[in-house]
């Protein structure tokens, strides 16, 4: 039984990586978008669309990596569409985001009907646990390459926002559109590019769902990761590296229920499964205060103005 309780911890760690990876990509995408001063609630739709596209391309081409790329491109198109619509006068990005969310999921379900049954090639995983002879540890350390890619993206994105001309421009646009215009920066173009790139990352997050874990394509594939990304980014204080830690935390929380079940704790199963959502709610309440504003909020965000 001693190994069993260790097993919970190991399973939670493994789950943090396995379940947290799509959170990581979506929240990085949302982080970049919000840094440019827009909120994209449509990332939920982007995620589902990415999942469908990735699965379909992988099935037809036989290459899951091509699927990942196409999922990203599909996300990019949706992101660009969102920010293009938002660049018109008097268009509210929240409302457009909700419309895009419904549009993305609807389109994915419509186009994805034929792909519910067939089985597509799966993304390979890397065995980092081969040195160990504990099966639980081996299972937990089966890591998808996309997770490693995600870490690199988080680090590079953080570095770019701080140290490149492009990153500085994105931040200026997100902090003050007026100041950006006074500097002669093309505000709408920078936002469209940032949102499109954010959509690309979210699309990849979607392909991870359908091509690795849980590895299928169905209408119930996403459980709101795209929406929770908005909360995650707040928790991460708009820092890409923060997105990495927060995603792992959320992944771990989501893995708690199944892990406990594996050692025979079945009571309160649904409660445990709801932990990520409860955490999201609790976090929103804790971080919202009438007496203080958040540190690091891009000032152009409509919800904070």
């Amino acid at each position: 039984m001693e190994v069993g309780w260790w097993g919970v911890l190991i399973a939670v760690l493994g789950g943090a990586i396995r379940i947290g990876t799509p959170f990581l990509f979506v929240s990085l995408g949302e982080c970049l978008t919000e840094k440019s001063g827009r909120i994209n609630l449509g990332l939920e739709g982007t995620l589902v669309m990415g999942a469908m596209t990735g699965y379909a391309v992988s099935l037809h081409s036989g290459s899951p990596w091509l699927g990942v790329l196409c999922a990203g491109l599909a996300g990019m198109v949706l992101g660009a569409l969102h920010s293009w619509i938002c660049s018109f006068q008097r268009v509210n990005d929240i409302a457009v985001g909700i419309a895009m969310m419904l549009f993305g999921t609807g389109l994915a379900f419509f186009l994805g009907k034929p792909y519910i049954q067939p089985s597509a090639p799966r993304l390979p995983s890397i065995d980092l646990g081969a040195w160990s002879d504990i099966p639980q540890l081996q299972a937990a350390l089966q890591i998808n390459a996309l997770f490693l890619v995600g870490i690199v993206v988080a680090v590079v994105l953080g570095w770019m926002l701080k140290n490149t001309a492009w990153g500085l421009k994105v931040r200026v646009v997100g902090e003050s559109a007026d100041a950006a215009r006074a500097l002669g920066l093309p505000v709408d173009r920078i936002r469209i590019l940032s949102t499109a790139q954010g959509g690309f990352l979210a699309g990849i997050g979607g392909s991870y769902l359908s091509l690795y874990y849980p590895f299928n394509w169905s209408e119930g594939l996403s459980s709101g990761q795209g929406l929770m990304a908005v909360a995650l980014v707040i928790f991460a204080r708009w820092q890409p590296i923060g997105c990495l830690w927060v995603s792992l935390l959320w992944g771990g929380a989501a893995a708690l229920g199944p892990s406990l079940q594996s050692v025979g704790v079945t009571g309160g199963y649904y409660i445990f499964n709801a932990i990520p959502y409860i955490m999201t709610l609790a976090m929103m309440i804790i971080t919202c205060s009438p007496k203080r504003t958040l540190v690091g909020v891009p000032r152009e965000l409509t919800v904070t103005r």
């Binding site: 490149t164 500085l168 421009k169 931040r171 000032r299």
Partner: protein, 507 residues
């Protein structure tokens, strides 16, 4: 800084129309190399339009811009920069969440794809050493005082190697000390022929102290120009307004007994990021008294006003109004008749898209005669009251059905003052009431405030304009670092002592 004198700038016969409105008509203007030139005029006189024509925001319908005897066409503000012309705007264009260094780097015309922060910092430090004033590069802009921000704005233009600086009311957000410091440095730079300065301002005192020459515009037309040394302040004011005006001494009635109306005890308040900015403030205001709170902005004045208007909560301390504890609820505000004119009234106490009539009725829309039976709003009654206030307070344009955000700053200020003074007022809280107003509007509003005092209202006046405080208030207190550190009667107040307390230099 490139060598040689700054270019000579002339605007000849500039005419600019917006539809049927002629904003500028055949205006001439000459900024000589190394000159400190002031552009004077009332609100709407066309100063900003003229400057925007020079900067390339607008393209004049007639006339031309001449730089060093050569006619040039300036297409955009970016374009103006290639001619060495830079502008410092009335509102700050700095990015608050970024450091001074980041702000200066981002304003460069060409950014390296990967920014070498060390090298940038090194270069800007060297540049800063050649400047008369310095600002720490690693500081976040949001934590700078207004005067420091204005310095960064100017440094930004100088770092871009601009030789002609245009400043649009640069001192409107500064204290007199800060203003004198910034203008003094600019003056020194013009004397050294490093830059030419064109400054738009209402403040005649500053013109008299720092400028070489003035050009005066009135209603879009050139009225005159001349050397400052040959003009006195009232002559300049006359050119601006068209008739002799001076600040009239306000009639004051003296009340026999002092009844305390508003008592603040040990008030503590935190700001938006949780820092305590009001730390144990005690203040009593009596019937028929104006108490002026002087201080450099950012010493807790904004938060002090916000707790009295109900926009912020105290962490500790008590507020008593006429010996009763006060909570700024709608019910208690009405009962104690405590009203408020905060700074930036459009953002702070108006709903911009609602009409003037609706905004004027915010305090009493739910009472007779505006609300029949207390629940059904009567639009005719709202409009009738609005017409009355519009006439009494001279709000322009006189239409109750226009959205209030389409009014000019002075008229919004008048409208809010009309609303807050429309009923009987026991206590009036006012913050920077004359910010950005022209001479006549300022006089009107100040007269209204003193009139309210003479009727027995207790007035708390928070202002960054020390002259205004000394002119209006009976007592002046100085706020520094969240506390009141000095108190004096306004008659016979010593400016130097007040200034020292404002900056915390008390020995």
């Amino acid at each position: 800084m490139t060598d040689g004198a700054p270019p000579d700038l002339q605007a000849l016969g500039i005419t600019k129309r917006f539809g049927p409105l002629v904003a500028l008509k055949d205006v001439n203007f000459h900024l000589r190399s190394g000159q400190f030139h002031a552009l004077l005029g009332e609100n709407g006189a066309g100063k900003s339009t003229l400057v925007k024509c020079i900067m390339g925001y607008y393209h004049p319908d007639e006339g031309k811009i001449v730089l060093d005897q050569q006619a040039v066409t300036i297409h955009s503000p970016r374009d103006a920069q290639t001619f060495g012309i830079g502008m410092v705007y009335q509102q700050f264009t700095l990015i608050p969440n970024m450091t001074v260094l980041e702000n200066l780097v981002i304003s460069k015309a060409k950014l390296d794809p990967v920014i070498n922060w060390q090298q940038e910092e090194h270069q800007l430090t060297q540049f800063m050493d050649t400047m008369p004033f310095k600002v720490s590069l690693s500081t976040r802009v949001s934590s700078l005082a207004a005067g420091e921000k204005q310095k960064v704005e100017i440094l930004k233009q100088l770092a871009l190697r601009n030789r002609i600086l245009i400043l649009d009311e640069p001192t409107s957000v500064l204290t007199p000390q800060e203003a004198d410091e910034v203008l003094g440095h600019l003056r020194a730079m013009t004397l050294a022929k490093q830059v030419s300065v064109l400054i738009i301002t209402h403040k005649l005192r500053e013109v008299a102290a720092f400028a070489d020459e003035v050009t005066v515009l009135r209603k879009g037309q050139f009225v005159g120009s001349g050397n400052v040394s040959g003009l006195n302040v009232s002559q300049m004011a006359e050119m601006m307004v068209g008739s002799e005006v001076t600040a009239k001494p306000k009639q004051r009635t003296v009340l026999s007994k002092k009844v305390p109306k508003l008592v603040l005890q040990d008030i503590r308040v935190k700001d938006d990021i949780g820092v305590e900015v009001v730390r144990g403030l005690h203040l009593t205001i009596h019937e028929g008294e104006i108490v002026g709170v002087a201080g450099v902005s950012g010493n807790g004045q904004r938060e002090l006003v916000e707790i009295l208007s109900g926009q912020r909560q105290t962490t500790s301390g008590t507020i008593h109004v006429q010996d009763q504890p006060f909570q700024p609820t709608r019910e208690q505000i009405m009962r104690h008749k405590i009203f408020c004119l905060p700074e930036e009234p459009l953002q702070n106490t108006c709903v911009g898209r609602m009409t003037v009539a609706e905004n004027l009725a915010f305090r009493n829309f739910d009472r007779e005669p505006h609300a029949v039976g207390g629940w059904l709003i009567s639009r005719p009654a709202l409009r009738r009251s609005a017409f009355g206030l519009i006439e009494r307070y001279n709000i322009k344009p006189p239409y109750p059905d226009t959205p209030i955000q389409s009014l000019s700053g002075g008229n919004i200020q008048r409208a809010v003052l009309a609303r807050e003074l429309s009923a009987e007022v026991e206590i009036l809280i006012i913050a920077n009431p004359c910010f950005g107003l022209d001479f006549l509007a300022m006089e009107e509003i100040r007269l209204q405030i003193v009139a309210a005092r003479n009727r027995g209202t207790a007035v708390l006046l928070v202002s960054e304009d020390l002259d205004e405080i000394l002119e209006l208030s009976d007592r002046t207190v100085v706020m520094f670092n969240g506390q009141l550190v000095y108190e004096t009667t306004s008659s016979g107040a010593d400016l130097a002592i007040i200034g020292r307390h404002m900056t915390g230099h008390t020995t």
